[in-house]
């Protein structure tokens, strides 16, 4: 059969390509997908998007979003995260959230659980303002904070706050494949514990041992006392997720005990962008790095360093100088507004009216 099927597939493929080419001739200067996006934004060949179909409050400041991903979604491994682009007040913002759903759900949907951070633009939007039916942008799932195969004999999950989310993704998928699980979870108070009912149910049904720590009452977890909580912690394959302080302390403790290779961490807020006046400017395409003050336009900084910078009016009106800010912070010299970016945000800035507001990387 194969020798018959192959040429036929080829013929279909080339017919498809011809139709696509013809469609391009009709839709130029835009592409056919710009029209198809109006009808079917979640189709397989579209840029990956998703639609928020359900929103469930978890605690006072956390909610789970059930998302129907586009047909191009390639699935995920429990513990991985997905970058989500949402339009908040008209501006597209990208953030990463751990997937909390079971993999391969019959309805094909995925879920993330978001905790509103103080001043968090996106998290507050998603928890308090987002509406079902909203289209969002998605990346494919990624991350290596996952369970190995075969599963470890003994596991410890060490989490705090929204750090429970990737762990919940793992537990929902694999708790029955794990013989011996301890979850040590910290949250300010009992009612702040995300997935509290589900975790407590897993504990009462004997599938996990749950140690809840309510830090407003009990104080922060003291790693010196860890042995008193989980006696055999050095023998356990451990996944830790939570604030930087918790992860730094865990790194230290595991490394002091000589079992650093047993510890897997997920730093879900890894980038703290320090803003100030001026800073080190990297032009990553040319590999040039220079120090710039807070009042010199990045266009001038780049040109002085010999970087080929696109330019135009040099007064902020023509947008001829627009360049990608890969990471870091810049300040608009006209109104002092600071713009920050981390890789993948796709932020473009006008270099003729922007100065360094901390270390930054301009892709030129």
């Amino acid at each position: 059969m194969a020798f018959v099927a192959a040429p036929r597939r080829g013929a279909f493929a080339s017919l498809g390509a011809r139709v696509a080419r013809l469609a391009e001739l009709v839709t130029t200067p835009v592409v056919p997908s710009d029209y198809l996006d109006m009808l079917s934004p979640l189709r397989a060949s579209a840029d990956l998007r998703g639609r928020i179909e359900e929103i469930h409050p978890e605690t006072r400041d956390a909610a789970t979003l059930v998302i129907r991903p586009g047909k191009g979604w390639r699935g995920h491994a429990p513990g991985q995260y997905v970058r989500i682009g949402v339009d908040v007040d008209g501006v597209r913002q990208w953030r990463a959230y751990s997937l909390t759903s079971r993999t391969g759900r019959a309805d094909g949907r995925i879920s993330v659980t978001v905790k509103a951070m103080p001043d968090g633009t996106v998290s507050n939007y998603l928890v308090r303002r987002a509406r079902t039916g909203t289209l969002i942008q998605l990346d494919q799932a990624t991350g290596d904070f996952t369970l190995p195969s075969p599963r470890p004999r003994k596991a410890l999950f060490l989490t705090a706050g929204s750090g429970i989310t990737p762990v919940m993704g793992m537990l929902r998928n694999a708790v029955d494949e794990l013989a011996d699980v301890v979850v040590v979870h910290s949250a300010p108070r009992s009612h702040d514990v995300i997935f509290a009912d589900e975790l407590r149910h897993l504990a009462t049904s004997g599938r996990i041992r749950l140690v809840e720590r309510h830090t407003d009452v009990d104080g922060m977890l003291d790693f010196g006392q860890l042995g008193g909580i989980v006696a055999d912690w050095t023998e356990r394959e451990t996944w830790a997720c939570g604030p930087t302080g918790l992860l730094d302390a865990a790194d230290q403790r595991w490394s002091d005990a000589g079992v650093a290779d047993r510890l897997h961490t997920e730093r879900f807020r890894p980038t703290v962008i320090v803003t100030g006046e001026g800073g080190q400017v990297t032009f990553s395409q040319t590999g040039t790095t220079v120090d710039a003050d807070g009042s010199t336009a990045l266009l001038d900084t780049g040109e002085r360093a010999g970087v080929l910078m696109p330019s135009g009016c040099r007064m902020g009106i023509c947008f001829g100088c627009v360049s990608p800010l890969r990471s870091g912070a810049v300040r608009d010299l006209r109104n002092g507004e600071v713009t920050t970016a981390v890789p993948g945000d796709g932020v473009l800035i006008q270099t003729c009216v922007s100065a360094a507001a901390g270390a930054c990387d301009i892709e030129r």
Binding site: L25, T28, R92, G312, I317, C318, F319
Partner: protein, 389 residues
Amino acid sequence: MTAVMSERPAARTVPVDDPTAHLTDADIENIAKELDALRERVIASRGARDAAYIRRVIDVQRKLELGSRGVLVFSLFPPAWLLGTLGLSAAKIVENMEIGHNVMHGQWDWMRDPKIHSTTWEWDNVSPSDQWKRTHNGMHHTYTNVIGEDGDLGYGLMRVSPDQPWSPFYLGQPLWNFVNACFFEFGIAAYDLELRDSLTDGRHKTPEFRERAQRVLRKIRQQVTKDYVVHPLLSGPSALHTLGANFVANLVRNLWTHSVIMCGHFPEGVDTFEKSSIEGETRGQWYLRQMLGSANISGSPLLHLMSGNLSHQIEHHLFPDLPSNRYGEIAPEVRDLFERYGLNYVTGPLPKQVASAWRKIFLLSLPNDAAERVDRVLKRFWPKWLRTA
């Protein structure tokens, strides 16, 4: 008619007919402060409402274009031809004006949507967007109405100020202007390519020019293939009618955009500036030049949409990168500023502004003394609504 602003604000020397003669340097700096503050207010309030606006315009435009092209498949039937041609003309106008022109200005860059961004947008026009952005955003908006710097002033074909020396070539400028209007997108492409200057000074032999020229040719080929080959062929028996419809739609778009753009800088009351006047120009003086060098068109919301809000040319020239839906909202404040500082806010209905611009083009095709005599005679015949101060 010509405002001269000296490079040293402390020693402003101005001719008697300078419309800014009554302004002190402090006034001009205060105008800048007020306008900067207005801009900041708009930027601080940009949000979901604005994003929804442009997405809706794009959505409606695409549906209108697709629908019209669909109707034109049956253009053998006169009602279908008429409806399809009207729709396609409107779709092309909206695409060029309210969407393309404004997106390429970076008015929507703040949304960080890569699909609606000045760096990625390509428009339904034979001039490639990056070449348009360089001459339009970079040259025209920076050097607005400065003779010799702003090529939009007559496109190098026309005399636009009585201060420019007259030559017999200008006798034909009403004709040049009409031909340019009919084939405006090609005129723009040649102009963005700096075709004439490049042919004169030998730049046309450089690899850089050839590369750019090739991209213009490729864009022309794509546009022509779409409008005059593929769409007619898809119309089967209606092929010739569809071809005609595309031609008419492009012509309507060209005439309309040319008229709107002429109304922006040509009507009576708009000033031009000498090159020497912008040396050492302050931000306030730049704002002032934009205020005096632009003219609005008054009319309905539909007119504002179809003109890409270039009917608010004054507001657009003050703030080329503010979202177009905001120009109408800030116009009363801008007009109030003009009045408080005793400046002439040039505006009028479309027919009046178009006639005013054409009148100027006719008169300037003649030597100054002849023009004055003709103008005196013609003034008696102007209908009342066409008479300007």
